[in-house]
């Protein structure tokens, strides 16, 4: 049987392998990652909901009091070191190199420089079910896209989105 059926078995193995590989790091991050809460910042208050997902940007991605490395190129990999705070974690440092194993109360997030702000890898999009699109659109508009996002982050900086909390509504939890 194996002799005759190996072609289709090979196809199934490859396709299932891809399906496992696509979310693998996110699943590991959800299970073993450190919980981090970040405050979102509006990307475009007139277009917060693009089709079936919310485009997310975070306060810690925007250059402010914390100095950024000089001469960053668009698309260059950087690390955002965030420190525990309430209700959301805050930016503590930005570096080109991985900060290594962070101290207690700190987490390093992998990001890319987008030319005018950083973009945390894998945390820029939250899918919304069709049945809740109108509610999401209304709540996001009322709060100008500002809310709190719960993430799980691995030591290598891989971030997995868990949920978005805006004005008492919770999105993304499955």
């Amino acid at each position: 049987m194996l002799h005759r059926d190996w072609p289709i078995l090979a196809v199934v193995v490859v396709q299932l392998g891809v399906l496992v590989a696509v979310p693998a790091r996110r699943v590991v991050a959800r299970v073993h990652g450190t919980g981090v809460t970040l405050r979102t910042a509006p990307v475009d208050p007139y277009d917060v909901l693009s089709g079936y997902y919310v485009t997310l940007a975070y306060e810690v991605e925007r250059p402010g009091d914390v100095p950024y490395p000089a001469d960053l190129k668009r698309g260059e990999a950087i690390w955002l070191l965030v420190q525990r705070d309430e209700p959301a974690w805050r930016l503590a440092g930005v570096s080109r190199e991985s900060p290594g194993e962070p101290l207690e109360g700190f987490v390093a997030l992998r990001a890319r420089w987008m030319g005018w702000r950083a973009g945390i890898e894998g945390a820029g999009r939250l899918y919304i079910p069709e049945a809740r699109r109108e509610e999401a659109d209304r709540v996001l508009r009322e709060h100008a896209g500002e809310g709190l996002v719960d993430l799980r982050v691995l030591e290598d900086g891989t971030a997995a989105l868990v949920r978005l909390r805006v004005g008492g509504a919770v999105f993304g939890e499955r």
Binding site: P7, I8, V11, V18, V22, E130, R132
Partner: protein
């Protein structure tokens, strides 16, 4: 289809149906089966109606696959995520299992079974989208196409399935275009990987349709990669000319009649290569024949696209090596393929034009010369061999080139009128003469 050819197809299809049974009964060993299957390869299509039937089934599979994708996009929240994943993955596995059984298991409905396996791979794409939704995976937009292409590629190679190969070529082309934009120093590697993974399969299967699709996908991906790298038309034109040179050389070189699998496959695919090479070169020459297009293109002005000279030079050297190998065979008759020969010469002219100073409009002049040589070769070749397609291609190309020049350059209206009327009369006259000669030739052949 000729009766003899149909009998041959039926014989081969029957043989391929029987071979596994003979092996299972112990009449044949694997080695003998391999030799027989290689000596009498299954034609691309097991008869015209078979292709049509498979096409209809695949179309149905595409529509159902589109429906499943839309269903996933609808984000049916009433079901828990695990149930959704299990459901879509179950549909994918079910399509593969049932399709495989019908196709190669009891082989009772081979084409419907094949289409069902294709549907399984389409549902695999929907599964990727669902996984991305459930786990909020957001990577580069082309990443999903790359993952989907991997699954289709596995189907193309393991199952020797041409619909899978077509799907893999399209998906990998889209992935390559996105990858090129984000990975500039490595932009050219993606189309080369695409070629390395798909061209050998098209050769192994001797599928002209697959070869054409793969050649188009690789050429498009290379042009986009060159454009992303340099943001310069010169690099894009160079990438296109390199591809058309290789295709034209393939079309020309396989007049050699050597035994052996690769040479026979190359000879079988040569007409497609020649046609694509001629069409690509004609398109490039036509665009570059406009002075506004040509004045910005120069090999001396490649900017960041400078490294693209290396793969283009490699492609041209490969084309030259093909021609030398053909010339060494002793049976090479390049003049039997005058249009492919003219296309190869046109590529040389266009690259020469790009190497000369752009301000002096050498490129425009040489592009017009290339168009004229392509038209002349097509007309001369078709008159000699009494082929209608080549004749009308040449006549229409000549007419298009002349019309375009008179519209491009400001001349007196009376002169335009005279030239257009003369062109129209010439087309009618030579057309009537050619059709008359064609009829006489066919009558003589029948007698």
């Amino acid at each position: 289809m000729e009766p003899l050819e149909r009998q041959e197809r039926v014989f081969r299809a029957r043989l391929h149906h029987e071979l596994p049974l003979w092996r299972d009964e112990g009449l044949l060993g694997d080695d003998a089966l391999g030799v027989l299957a290689g000596r009498y390869p299954l034609p691309e299509e097991a008869g015209g109606s078979g292709v049509a039937l498979l096409a209809v089934y695949v179309l149905g599979a595409l529509l159902i696959g589109g429906g499943v994708l839309s269903f996933v996009a609808w984000h049916w929240e009433s079901l828990p995520a695990t149930v959704q994943l299990a459901l879509v993955t179950g549909v994918m596995l079910g399509c593969h299992a049932l399709g495989w059984w019908w196709w190669r298991g009891d082989a009772s409905r081979p084409r419907l079974g094949h289409a069902l396996v294709v549907l399984g791979t389409l549902v695999f794409g929907a599964d990727i989208a669902l996984v991305a939704q459930v786990f909020h995976v957001h990577s580069d937009w082309y990443g999903g196409f790359g993952a989907w292409a991997l699954g289709a590629l596995a189907g193309a190679w393991a199952l020797r399935s041409m619909p899978h190969l077509a799907l893999a070529a399209i998906l990998a082309c889209v992935w390559s275009m996105g990858y090129a934009g984000d990975h500039r120093p490595l932009a050219g590697l993606a189309p080369l990987a695409l070629a390395a993974l798909l061209v050998p399969l098209a050769f192994l299967e001797r599928s002209r349709a697959a070869y054409a699709l793969v050649a188009l996908a690789v050429t498009a991906a290379l042009m986009v990669a060159a454009g992303a790298e340099a943001a310069e038309g010169s690099a894009v034109a160079l990438a296109l000319l390199a591809c058309t040179a290789l295709l034209s050389a393939h079309g020309l070189a396989t007049t050699l009649e050597r035994p052996g699998g690769l040479a026979r496959a190359a000879a079988h695919l040569a007409p497609v290569a020649a046609a694509l090479g001629v069409l690509g070169t004609t398109g490039a020459a036509y665009v570059l024949s406009f002075h506004e297009m040509a004045e910005d293109l120069s090999l001396g002005d490649l900017g960041e696209g400078g490294p693209w000279i290396a793969p283009a030079a490699a492609a041209l050297l490969a084309a030259l090596a093909l021609l030398l190998a053909a010339a060494g065979s002793g049976t090479w008759r390049p003049l039997d393929h005058p249009v492919a020969l003219a296309a190869l010469g046109s590529v040389v002219l266009l690259i020469l034009g790009m190497a000369l100073p752009p301000q002096e409009l050498w490129l425009t002049g040489l592009a017009n010369l290339a168009l004229a040589s392509l038209a002349a070769a097509a007309i001369a070749g078709s008159v000699r061999r009494l082929e209608r397609g080549g004749f009308w291609f040449g006549v229409l190309l000549a007419g298009l080139a002349i019309t375009s020049r008179f519209l491009e350059y400001r001349t007196e209206l009376w002169l335009k009128a005279v030239v257009f009327i003369a062109c129209g009369v010439a087309v009618l006259l030579v057309g009537v003469l050619f059709e008359q000669r064609l009829r006489e030739g066919r009558a003589g052949h029948a007698a």
